[in-house]
Symmetry: C2
Subunit: 129 residues, 2 copies
C-alpha cells in the first residue's frame, strides 16, 4: 500500500470542516465572505473564522493568494479525498473495517429510507459492471 510520502493526514476538526465546506462550494473567497456564509448558521464571529482559516492554512488544507491588502482562500485538500479518508477511518474504527457492518447497522437503525436503498442498489449494479 502507498505509505504516502505526501503530507501526513493532518486531522481536520469539525469546526474546520464547516469552513472547508464553504470553500469547496465556492472559491477563492476572502475571510469576510467565508464569514458571510457560515457565521450566521453557526453563530460565529469574524475572529473565529479567521482563526479557523489560519489553522487550515497551517495544516496545508487551504492555500492563500494575495488580493490587494487581503488574502483569498482556496481549498488544497479535495473534498473527495477528505470524505473518503474520514469514511474509511470511521468504518475502520467502529466496524473493524467492514463496510457491510456499517450498512447493517444503518439498516437496523432504520436510518435507510426507500430512496437510500434504491440508490445504493443502483450503485452496486454500477460497481458490478
Amino acid at each position: 500500500m502507498t505509505e504516502s510520502l505526501d503530507q501526513a493526514p493532518e486531522r481536520i476538526s469539525e469546526a474546520e470542516h464547516a469552513i472547508m465546506e464553504v470553500l469547496w462550494a465556492r472559491h477563492p473567497l476572502a475571510a469576510a465572505e467565508v464569514c458571510e456564509d457560515v457565521c450566521g448558521a453557526r453563530g460565529w464571529s469574524m475572529p473565529t473564522v479567521k482563526t479557523l482559516l489560519a489553522r487550515l492554512v497551517a495544516k496545508g488544507a487551504v492555500a492563500t493568494e494575495p488580493d490587494g491588502r487581503r488574502f483569498l482562500y482556496t481549498p488544497v485538500l479535495e473534498r473527495e479525498a477528505y470524505l473518503g479518508g474520514e469514511s474509511r477511518r470511521m468504518v475502520e474504527r467502529l466496524f473493524g473495517g467492514r463496510p457491510a457492518a456499517l450498512f447493517a447497522q444503518l439498516a437496523d437503525a432504520e436510518a435507510l429510507n426507500n430512496d437510500d436503498i434504491a440508490e445504493i442498489e443502483r450503485l452496486l449494479r454500477e460497481l458490478r459492471s
Copy 2:
C-alpha cells in the same frame, strides 16, 4: 420508557471506546482484567485504564458493582445504540444525512471489496422482504 439516561448523548472519546469494546466483549470485568485486554494493544498503563473507566462511569456509560474490595465494571450503554448513534452522526455531518452518499464515497475510494458488496446485496434482499 425508562427515565432518561439518554437525554444528553454524552460523547464517548476514541480511547474510551476502546475500553467499551473490551467490556462489550466480556463483562463484568475488574480494572486489571480490562487492562490485560487492552494495555498491550494500545501501549497503555493501568492508571490510564483506571482514568478512562472512571470517566465512563461518570458519563453513565458503565456501571460498577462491588466485588469484595474492588469493582467490577459492566457496560450500560449498548453497543448497538452506540454504533448506530455514531454512524448516524457521521452520515449527518459528512454526507448531509444521506447514507447513499456515504456508500458512493466508499465505492469511489475502492473501500469495498467483493465480499463487502456481496454481503450488502444480501442485506438488501433481506430488507426487501
